[in-house]
């Protein structure tokens, strides 16, 4: 995936469409947007940077997982099999991007009340396990783009095959000097950012 920081306006629509698509419970933000400020007044730059699982080619989370719950799909997407996860949270300590969330107990957005939406959606989430972005794998299987890509209101996100040098994402990375976060760690993330 390529995220164009020149286009991104930091609206957090991606964070919430992720929530809607995946029905993630309170406090579980598979996707978030941070603000990053540089410079001194009046020469200041503030950039909004969406963050989510980087789907590293060399995922440290998978390496440390004691049960094999964290695994990599053949297409490179890093996923968690909730049935295998014991909730040791080792992966959370291993992820350099702080992109994993532990659901300690079942919780609803309105204390003491479960909305019909939550009734329908929270079956997908069990307590006591770790979860994270899976690039909307169920959507991909239906031939759709991840929800954050499909909904981005400044069209800052492009989804595609990094291995294909002719793909849109590969071209964008080439033409606009796309970069990864914390490349020094050797994780080789699948999310590239285009400079603002």
């Amino acid at each position: 995936m390529v995220i164009d920081l020149k286009k991104c306006i930091g609206c957090t629509g991606c964070a919430l469409v992720c929530k809607a698509e995946n029905a993630t419970p309170p406090g579980i933000l598979w996707l978030r947007v941070v603000k990053h400020e540089t410079g001194k007044y009046p020469q200041v730059r503030r950039v909004s940077v969406p963050l989510q699982c980087m789907h590293c080619a060399e995922p440290p989370c998978m390496e440390v997982c004691p049960t094999g719950a964290t695994f990599q799909h053949p297409n490179g997407i890093v996923d968690i099999d909730a049935e295998l996860c014991v909730g040791c949270r080792y992966c959370m300590m291993a992820c350099p991007y702080d992109q994993r969330f532990f659901l300690s107990a079942e919780r609803t957005y309105f204390p003491g009340h479960t909305t019909p939406f939550e009734q329908a959606g929270y079956q997908r989430h069990q307590a006591g396990v770790v979860s994270k972005c899976n690039f909307c794998t169920p959507r991909l299987q239906r031939g759709l783009e991840p929800a954050c890509v499909a909904n981005c209101m400044s069209r800052a996100r492009t989804f595609g095959d990094l291995d294909d040098s002719n793909s849109e994402v590969s071209k964008l990375i080439r033409d606009r000097a796309g970069y990864q976060l914390h490349p020094e760690l050797g994780t080789n993330p699948s999310i590239y950012y285009l400079p603002p």
Binding site: L29, V64, V86
Partner: protein, 296 residues
């Protein structure tokens, strides 16, 4: 701000540039700290109790380790699936640790059973003892690697951490035996422990200093973590627990022991304080764990 619920704290953290890890130090995460402490001290006690011939030490070491294992178990989000954790020996230190700890607990249990039922040494007993010592050693060694292999937290992500953990586990083991002795229920000879203990305390102190100094120079995140320990929100447990109670007082009393005979009560205090110090340092290092800055 009324952010008392863990998930609210987590959200508040997300806007920080350097986010603290909380899962392994707060709430049920405290169980993990206790588990690491107890298994470490237990395995350490076991290792010391064998050459000293202290059966009480063995029993104490075993039960401490059991306590730790229970802590480990209930720290898990899904305790009923714990056995799955043994399936990734090839890459995961937790898998390796589970196997080591299991080896230790099982063989230690069998050895103790044999010891108390048969009441004499057998070849089987020797094999079990050897295996249990292997398990204990394994237990002591793996812990540090669990923390050290956490790429997300620069403070831990260094080979010094395993060394530190080994030192603390050994010191903890010795402290358990000294505590028992101080309480007057130590059956074997404990005197040889005292210099070992002192040496361990001094060397640990040096190791902590080296560790902190090295981490100060290991990038912004580790530096911030160290600052948290030395000047920040973790400073109180660090100075009070890890430094004062865990190092200075025991070293002081230990040095005093060379001049004079130590009263039993004081001895127990030394053991207890050392243990508290060990617990504190594990806790402090866990609490000071920060993630790398994002986005850069």
């Amino acid at each position: 701000m009324a952010r008392t619920e863990p998930f609210q704290i987590r959200i508040a953290d997300l806007r920080e540039r350097y986010r603290p890890q909380r899962e392994w130090a707060e709430g049920r995460g405290l169980l993990l700290i206790l588990a690491h402490f107890f298994t470490g001290a237990g395995a350490g006690a076991w290792l010391f109790a064998v050459p000293l011939g202290s059966d009480t030490g063995l029993v104490a070491g075993f039960f401490l380790a059991v306590l730790g294992a229970v802590g480990h178990l209930f720290f898990l989000g899904r305790p009923e699936r714990f056995w799955r954790m043994a399936t990734r020996m090839g890459s995961s230190w937790i898998s390796r640790g589970l196997v080591g700890l299991s080896l230790f607990l099982v063989t230690a249990f069998l050895y103790l059973a044999l010891l108390f039922l048969a009441a004499h040494t057998t070849t089987l007993g020797s094999i079990l003892l050897a295996l249990s010592m292997l398990g204990a050693l394994w237990t002591i060694i793996y812990k540090g690697f669990v923390w050290a292999s956490s790429k997300g937290i620069p403070l831990w992500n260094t080979p010094l951490v395993p060394a530190l953990y080994i030192a603390y586990a050994l010191r903890g083991g010795a402290a358990v035996l000294i505590l028992l002795a101080g309480l007057g229920i130590q059956l074997g000879a404990w005197e040889p422990l005292e210099p070992i203990k002192l040496w361990l305390a001094v060397s640990t102190a040096v190791l902590v200093l080296i560790y902190l100094e090295v981490m100060r120079g290991s990038g912004m995140t580790a530096l911030r973590s160290v600052n948290l320990l030395l000047f920040g929100k973790v400073a109180l447990p660090f100075y009070l627990g890890a430094v004062l109670l865990g190092l200075i007082v025991p070293i002081g009393i230990g040095s005093f022991a060379y001049l004079d005979h130590i009263p039993a009560g004081l001895l127990a205090l030394v053991g207890l304080l050392s243990l508290l110090g060990d617990l504190s340092i594990i806790y402090c290092i866990a609490r000071a764990g920060l993630y790398r800055p994002l986005p850069t």
